[in-house]
């Protein structure tokens, strides 16, 4: 009997205690981030909206190698490579990303040999019309260098470009005349 009464009192205490603990939350800080007014901090490597960057000279970095389109697991990238008349530099004739398919995995960024395609910390790209989620080249191309400020693919590629023969690029030795090494 006494044991039973003690149990009842203990239960009563535990209920009142839990109510008190909940009541203390009146003054606790709320965890909700009130999104449109209060933006959550995004990590610098956040994989968001995809952009095409330019090299420090202001030229398109993309050389139309199709590696991004191959790496893309949902096949949302489509492009057509072309060659420039004056110097034979490759560029994409069109470059299209269907963001309604894109899963923002970042494989295209990993695959890109020229750091042209990059993912940015931006996710606010809602549209009322699904068709508007298909971004064309003019929507994707930005005028900056993105995450790699000094990088210029043609300066380190070892390829001859207009006005710069082989061996004239950054950190590049003059070409070795293989025949001269023959005994």
């Amino acid at each position: 009997m006494l044991r039973k009464m003690f149990d009842v009192l203990e239960g009563l205490y535990s209920h009142l205690r839990s109510m008190g603990l909940v009541l203390k939350h009146t003054f606790a800080k709320r965890v909700t981030v009130q999104y449109p007014e209060e933006k959550p901090p995004l990590a610098p490597r956040w994989r968001g909206r995809i952009v095409l960057t330019r090299d420090p000279d202001g030229e398109e970095r993309c050389v139309g190698c199709y590696l991004c389109a191959v790496a893309c697991p949902v096949d949302c990238i489509s492009l057509q490579a072309a060659e420039r008349e004056e110097d034979g530099r490759r560029y994409p004739e069109f470059f299209r990303i269907n963001f309604s398919r894109c899963i923002f995995c970042g494989y295209c960024e990993e695959a890109c040999p020229t750091y042209a395609i990059q993912l940015t910390p931006d996710f606010e790209m809602c549209e009322y019309n699904r068709q508007n989620l298909v971004y064309e080249k003019q929507d994707l191309l930005i005028s900056g260098v993105g995450k790699y400020p000094g990088y210029n693919f043609y300066n380190v590629a070892g390829l001859a470009t207009k006005g710069k023969p082989k061996g004239q690029h950054e950190n590049e030795d003059a070409p070795v005349d293989v025949r001269s090494l023959l005994p």
Partner: protein, 317 residues
């Protein structure tokens, strides 16, 4: 003639304030639950999210009002109205202030008990007419629970009645001018509060609509405004129990400085927040524990309380 106009005005005032309270409670409950769970709750529609009430009402009115083909149609349609009608009827005897009172009948307390017993029919009939096993289980639980808790709900009030010497609500409030009955009848207060929570089937005693076990219990098959009626009925029930706690134990409209109506509303608001705090903090009871708690603990306790009260009254007279 003027007395008819006055009583009509009072009725309109009571109905208006009750239905407003019931709809605002939806918002209040969501905001307070959110506050105690470190969230914000609805705060987008209108100032403080108050427009949420309107949005919810519009939504529920435009929902399809569907009666399942296997249901007992007339009973199915009538059942939800019972809970609202009985809860609103009970307010006829609640004194809001010395003058604002629909009817000061001599058996006010008994009238309230009768009405809350009738409220069981709503739940029982809803569960029966739904022709759904979960709804029936919910209705069974509700009937058993309300029967059990009705008994000592009445008994817990008898202490107050014995001290006052009247069943009239207004007389009970007037008897508390010097000392509130919560001081004289603390056990009666606690028992009545527990029984009241069980009567409105709110969280620690919400077995009739236990979501995790019975889908939605007795209102599983209800949708649209019929479900809304159960919802409104529940909130009016909370207001009713709070109002009665205030009237019977917390001195009713008595209070310094402020006008009596305001005091009444402040006290009722306090208890409503208490009900929501209960919901925020306590888990649901197991069914057998609920019945054991009712019959084996609360009933003897309320009888003991009544006997002790009677003994003290006899001793002092």
């Amino acid at each position: 003639m003027s007395s008819v106009v006055t009583s009509l005005l009072v009725i309109v005032f009571v109905l208006f304030s009750l239905l407003t309270t019931a709809s605002l409670l939806i918002w209040l409950e969501r905001r307070l639950l959110a506050l105690w769970q470190d969230r914000y709750g609805p705060n987008r529609v209108g100032p403080f999210g108050l427009g949420q009430v309107l949005a919810d009402m519009i939504k529920i009115f435009f929902k399809e009002d569907w009666t399942p083909p296997f249901a007992d149609r007339p009973v199915f349609v009538i059942a939800p109205t019972f809970i609202v009608i009985t809860a609103l009827m009970s307010f006829a005897v609640v004194p809001f202030s010395p003058s604002i009172l629909v009817s000061d009948i001599d058996i006010g307390v008994l009238f309230f008990l009768a009405m809350s017993s009738l409220g069981v029919y709503s739940v029982a009939l809803a569960g029966w007419a739904s022709n759904n096993k979960y709804a029936l289980l919910g209705a069974l639980r509700a009937s058993a629970q309300m029967l059990a808790y009705e008994v000592f709900m009445g008994l817990s009030l008898m202490g107050v009645v014995a001290i006052t010497g009247s069943f009239s609500m207004q007389a009970i409030v007037k008897a508390q001018e010097n000392i509130w009955f919560i001081v004289l009848q603390p056990i009666g207060f606690v028992i009545f509060m527990i029984a009241g929570i069980a009567e409105t089937h709110r969280i620690p005693f919400d077995l009739p609509e236990a979501e995790s076990e019975l889908v939605a219990g007795f209102h599983s098959e209800y949708s649209g405004m019929k479900f809304g009626m159960f919802f409104v009925g529940e909130y009016i029930g909370i207001t009713l129990i709070s109002a009665l706690l205030v009237t019977l134990f917390m001195g009713g409209w008595h209070g310094p400085f402020l006008p009596p109506v305001l005091w009444f509303f402040i006290k009722v608001f306090f208890f409503i927040c208490g009900f929501i705090l209960l919901r925020a903090s306590l888990p649901r009871m197991r069914y057998d524990q609920l019945m054991a708690f009712g019959w084996k603990l609360m009933l003897p306790l309320s009888l003991l309380n009544l006997m002790a009260t009677g003994a003290v009254i006899l001793w002092s007279s």
